[in-house]
Symmetry: C2
């Protein structure tokens, strides 16, 4: 049973792409077969993987090719990838006129049978692509930076999520909220994490694991690796711990 996990947050720069790649790589290390789907027109994941080829997720969405033909191996992380393309924004506009337009991605992914996990990286904007990602997902992970501006954006975001769930995807589960970029040196980070934990709303949804700030996490994109390459880095430890937690929460949500 493939777990399709959307990595979602409308706030920018909270660690969606970093989580998608490193959580994926950590699960691949555990022997899981992992597919990463880049649904962000910004293509952060795709350029991190050094992929510049056709077909891309745009071609899959428009039905020109099957999802299976757009899959490419990212050797350095042990994951497979369906890359984003330059014209993905255009594709989003073209989707708007289709029937069942929120479920195009879900339908296209159905022919893929042998992955244990699929992660969908999304852009920090609310549009048809992000709605497709959510509707295609069996569950979602919400990275959340331990800082004020990110925390304040959470309530409206949950309203939006609740809205999508109600209209299109009542069985959507939240695997968990993942505190990211936690800086043990600052009181701000600790206070924000405490606020999250004591929140009636967010508290119960938090993962036990939180991702600490670790410059290795910001460096590895330059070399095309996931941080799991450096097993002693905090970033690697944290994402490996998260992989354990995600794997054990499997399906029992």
């Amino acid at each position: 049973m493939t777990r399709i996990i959307g990595i979602v947050n409308l706030k920018g720069g909270v660690g969606k792409t970093t989580t998608c790649v490193n959580l994926g790589a950590a699960l691949a290390l555990k022997g899981q077969k992992v597919l990463l789907i880049d649904l962000d027109p910004q293509q952060s994941l795709t350029s991190w993987a050094g992929i510049d080829q056709w077909p891309t997720i745009s071609n899959v969405l428009s039905g020109e090719t099957d999802a299976s033909q757009a899959i490419v191996k990212w050797e350095k992380t042990g994951c497979w990838v369906i890359p984003s393309g330059e014209d993905l924004r255009l594709k989003e506009n073209q989707l708007t006129t289709l029937d069942q337009r929120e479920f195009v991605l879900k339908n296209k992914l159905q022919i893929l049978e042998d992955f244990d996990y699929m992660f969908i990286d999304t852009s920090p904007s609310y549009g048809l692509l992000t709605v497709n990602a959510i509707c295609a997902s069996t569950e979602i992970i919400i990275p959340l930076q331990t800082e004020i501006l990110a925390l304040e954006s959470t309530i409206p975001f949950f309203d939006t999520l609740g809205d999508i769930k109600e209209r299109f995807h009542p069985r959507l589960k939240i695997t968990g909220i993942l505190p990211c970029m936690f800086d043990a040196r600052t009181r701000l980070s600790k206070n924000t994490l405490d606020q999250m934990r004591s929140s009636e709303y967010l508290g119960p949804l938090l993962f036990k694991t939180f991702i600490r700030k670790n410059v290795r996490l910001a460096e590895t994109p330059a070399q095309g690796f996931a941080v799991t390459r450096y097993s002693s880095a905090y970033g690697a430890e944290d994402y490996i711990a998260l992989a354990e937690e995600v794997h054990s929460r499997g399906g029992e949500l």
Copy 2:
């Protein structure tokens, strides 16, 4: 002659809102009359300012009220604000059917006469709201985090900008690219800044000033202040230096 400056970058979390508020506050300290317009449905700037009132920029865009009626004073920063509203995303959809839909904001702002500066905070997504922000601006500032994933997103972003400029706003100027969240402790930050400076493309556009990482900048949103309240903080020094640079580059681009 009002300078209308859009703060734009499709990459998330690079410091757009932080720059909008702190640069605005620094110019207000210099005696300039500054208006901050929150065009992000996420409402980061609006909640930072503690504003929860009607009318908002949504009402202005739909013509229900004048821009002048939506202005509220943010005492703690010395700036005026037109707040974002809960329904701004909806408003974006409604705009799509209008004639001259890229110029709605530009037209609505024309009745405002007595500001020296207007800053428009935008969301990290490419949509009609962001296009409106760009078309309403006389110039734009591009905050850019000194990290790989942000840098890699720059080239496609410049293509998009070039496209908008060509189709709708040939006289748009880039006031400058602003390196943000510079962390002097990491080699990554220094390398990325060097890369920006030696880039044929980005180098000439860079401000001399760059904004250093300073936890004060992340803390001040919680209290509703700009960092300029703490004149000895690095964050305040940097934004005051930026205000000097922006002010002296005025109009002569």
